[in-house]
């Protein structure tokens, strides 16, 4: 009896181990029954709006040829990078993944992504905005292809402008004007604000938005050198503090906590008259703000005659290190970043895309306010910069941001704070 039990257990264990091996093998073959090569594609686009669009692009690609079958897998935003990394480490990654444009160099340096220099030439490169292309090049080698991007614009409520006697076709163009307009647009009932004209840290912005704007579009790094403690950046933070002090902590916090819930956007609800956000913000206005007459403008400049610099970001399509089919993966990436797929993505999502022709085609298809705003979004890219994380300072944001928090809380002056930040970041150099 005992003997048979022990044999049974050993048998079960061996079966378990064997079946584990065999199932691994069959899934790694990477070919369909009719001989097509399977390209696994990972993205974080799982929302109601985005998923059908990316899946239509995948379907179009699959139907356009008979050698490759792209399989799209949606992974939640919070999981996708960790999962990618784990699969790269395990040697069985996806073949194409959508990843952050600002950290391409990091991944190249750490060998998490395949080099694709051999698949791209000058003509290919010319399809894309050059500042986006720069971000996918690390030490003269190419590691990804830009997919989409974004830029900040000033959205303003035309009705509110008319109400207080401002010309709705003359949005503020400098920081000084922005402040003047904002004060006019404030609406107070006793001590509480019913409407706030503008607050520079609401919307898709942060202190860095204003510091880079003031500093001629340069971020914390300028030509490979740290540029955290600069006179213009100090001035920008001082200016931000003025806003905070004028409105008062309580007002700012109260407003902020209310729209933390994202149930209703305060700009759309008419509680804030001017609002900085990315271009796609317009879709929210379109869907939820039927009565809102909205205008857009570039980010006001630090002083008359200075650039209207805006912060950008975006995503690239890349091949994780160790992909079994890099050549086929690249075929798909070329389709994904080609003008046809890009204009489709741009139009449907109202998103800035990296392919210049794709962006222009989308703008030509749109009509009315959508066209006007999309054109502004595309034009804004001329004065948009992205700020890739420097390879030497992978963790610099985490060091700088709390210090900026402390500056904004009034615990340390902008001058002292930025000086301290620069010193601390210098210590981090790898």
């Amino acid at each position: 009896m005992q003997k048979s039990i022990s044999f049974f257990i050993v048998f079960m264990l061996i079966m378990g181990i064997l079946s584990g091996c065999s199932s691994n093998e069959s899934s790694a073959s990477g070919e369909t029954q009719d001989g097509k090569i399977v390209v696994n594609f990972w993205s974080f686009w799982g929302s109601e709006t985005r998923r059908p669009i990316i899946e239509k692009i995948v379907k179009d690609f699959n139907e356009s040829q008979d050698k490759i079958l792209v399989k799209h897998t949606y992974l939640p935003w919070g999981d996708i990078w960790t999962k990618n990394l784990a699969s790269v480490a395990a040697g069985s990654p996806a073949d194409v993944i959508i990843n952050d444009i600002n950290t391409v160099a990091q991944r190249a340096e750490n060998q998490q992504v395949e080099e694709i220099t051999e698949y791209v030439d000058d003509d290919f490169q010319k399809q894309f905005y050059s500042y986006l292309w720069d971000a996918v090049v690390h030490k003269d080698k190419v590691y990804g292809v830009p997919f989409n991007t974004d830029t900040r614009l000033l959205f303003y409520n035309k009705k509110a402008f008319e109400e207080v006697g401002l010309d709705p076709n003359q949005p503020p163009s400098t920081w000084k004007e922005l402040e003047e307009y904002a004060k006019k647009l404030d609406k107070k009932q006793g001590n509480t604000y019913e409407r706030i004209g503008f607050y520079p840290l609401w919307g898709s912005t942060g202190p860095s938005t204003w510091m880079t704007n003031a500093d001629n579009g340069t971020s914390y790094m300028n030509n490979g050198k740290l540029a955290i403690h600069t006179p213009r950046k100090v001035a920008a933070l001082e200016w931000l503090l003025q806003w905070k002090n004028r409105l008062g902590d309580k007002t700012v916090q109260t407003f902020q906590a209310e729209f933390g819930s994202e149930q209703s956007n305060p700009f759309i609800a008419g509680k804030v008259a001017m609002w900085m956000d990315v271009g796609t913000f317009y879709t929210q206005i379109r869907d939820y703000g039927k009565d809102l007459d909205v205008g857009v403008a570039a980010v006001p400049s630090f002083e008359e005659g200075q650039g209207h610099w805006a912060e950008g970001g975006g995503f690239v399509a890349e091949i994780p290190k160790g992909s079994a089919h890099p050549k086929e993966a690249m075929e798909f990436i070329k389709y994904l970043t080609g003008s046809e797929a890009q204009s489709y993505w741009a139009e449907e999502n109202f998103d800035n895309v990296a392919n210049i022709k794709g962006a222009e085609t989308a703008a030509a298809h749109l009509v009315g306010t959508e066209k006007e705003i999309y054109n502004a979004m595309v034009k804004n890219l001329e004065e948009t910069n992205i700020y890739p994380t420097p390879v030497e300072y992978p963790d610099y944001q985490n060091t700088i941001n709390p210090i900026i928090d402390n500056i904004m809380l009034g615990k340390i002056t902008p001058d002292q704070g930025l000086k301290q930040a620069e010193k601390q970041v210098k210590k981090l150099k790898q």
Partner: protein, 324 residues
């Protein structure tokens, strides 16, 4: 508890010895052992493969610049040196965590105990109250944090609204670095139901005879509580203290969910140890450094637990005498 385990293992040892002598055959005993090991093999394989292995690996990784994909060069104590001398956020995160442990553990333990004593009274409909107070322990995770983010909203949140009824102007909670940690501790208070259930069970296990004897001797309610109830349930209090200390040191989710994009809240006031570790591991992919941090936390928790075990001999009462 400890005593029972000890005695069982003693019994087992003696049984084994006896059997060995009796049969005198090595093979028979060996076979029995083999079967025994086979039965516990899922656990052994799990422990070695999923616990001990990765732990030893992370210990080694902490002496390297391991970045998951390409590097794993031995760099000696550099990670630990960086931690203690360069990384200011290491100290911030350690301080935030200690602050949280120091307040949340005593408050929740006392809270759970008091609640359990109250719910141990013989009142009609007590079962309903017990269910109500235990309910928050059933609800957990991200949904609860979102609920609390709304409750703690400075202007429209229920907590500040209620405070304003009694004329108190509530703080900005999660937006003010001074108040973020107290806000979290307050939130933890809400879910004392789990600890309460433990205490309630042990309270019901305290023999009525002891109370009766004390009453005859003229003990009042406080005497009974401090001289009978507390000592009798002290093993459970001890268990709760140790586990909730360990749990509190590992606080992560709350800060990750409740601070904007998991960055550790305003001015890093919610940057807890594990959050900083997580950021190092999965944002900058400095896995070697993160492994080092994990081991430092392990050492801290180990020291505290050993300390608690030592000090427990002075106040934890085991029925039937302390087993040494």
């Amino acid at each position: 508890m400890g005593k029972i385990e000890m005695s069982i293992s003693k019994d087992l040892k003696s049984v084994k010895k006896k059997r060995h002598i009796k049969t005198g055959k090595r093979t028979r005993a060996g076979k029995n052992n083999l079967i025994g090991y086979l039965f516990i093999s899922p656990w052994i394989i799990g422990f070695i493969g999923l616990m001990l292995g990765p732990m030893l690996f992370s210990l080694y990784a902490s002496f390297t610049d391991y970045n998951i994909t390409s590097k794993m060069n031995f760099i000696g104590l550099a990670n630990y040196k960086h931690m203690f001398t360069v990384d200011d956020m290491f100290w911030t995160s350690l301080w935030n965590t200690l602050y949280y442990v120091l307040f949340s553990v005593p408050i929740t333990t006392v809270g759970a105990l008091l609640l359990a004593v109250l719910l141990n009274q013989k009142v009609k409909g007590m079962k309903i109250f017990r269910t109500i107070f235990y309910l928050p322990a059933v609800l957990s995770g991200v949904a609860v944090y979102f609920l609390w983010m709304q409750l703690l909203s400075p202007s429209t949140g229920m907590i500040n609204t209620m405070l304003s009824w009694v004329g108190i102007e509530g703080p900005a909670w999660l937006f003010d670095p001074q108040w973020t940690k107290p806000a979290l501790i307050l939130m933890k208070m809400w879910s004392v139901g789990g600890g309460m259930l433990l205490y309630l069970a042990s309270l019901q296990g305290v023999s009525k005879n002891v109370y009766e004897a004390a009453e005859i001797d003229g003990a009042n309610i406080f005497h009974k509580f401090f001289h009978i109830t507390l000592p009798m349930i002290s093993p459970v209090i001890f268990f709760d203290l140790v586990t909730s200390t360990i749990g509190s040191f590992q606080i992560f989710q709350e800060a990750y969910v409740m601070s904007e994009s998991g960055n550790g809240g305003p001015a890093n006031s919610l940057l807890f140890y594990n959050l900083h570790m997580w950021n190092n591991a999965f944002k900058t992919f400095d896995m070697g450094y993160a492994s080092g941090m994990a081991w430092i936390l392990f050492v801290i928790i180990m020291i505290l637990t050993v300390f608690q075990l030592k000090i427990s001999k002075r106040w934890v009462h085991y029925e039937g005498g302390n087993d040494k």
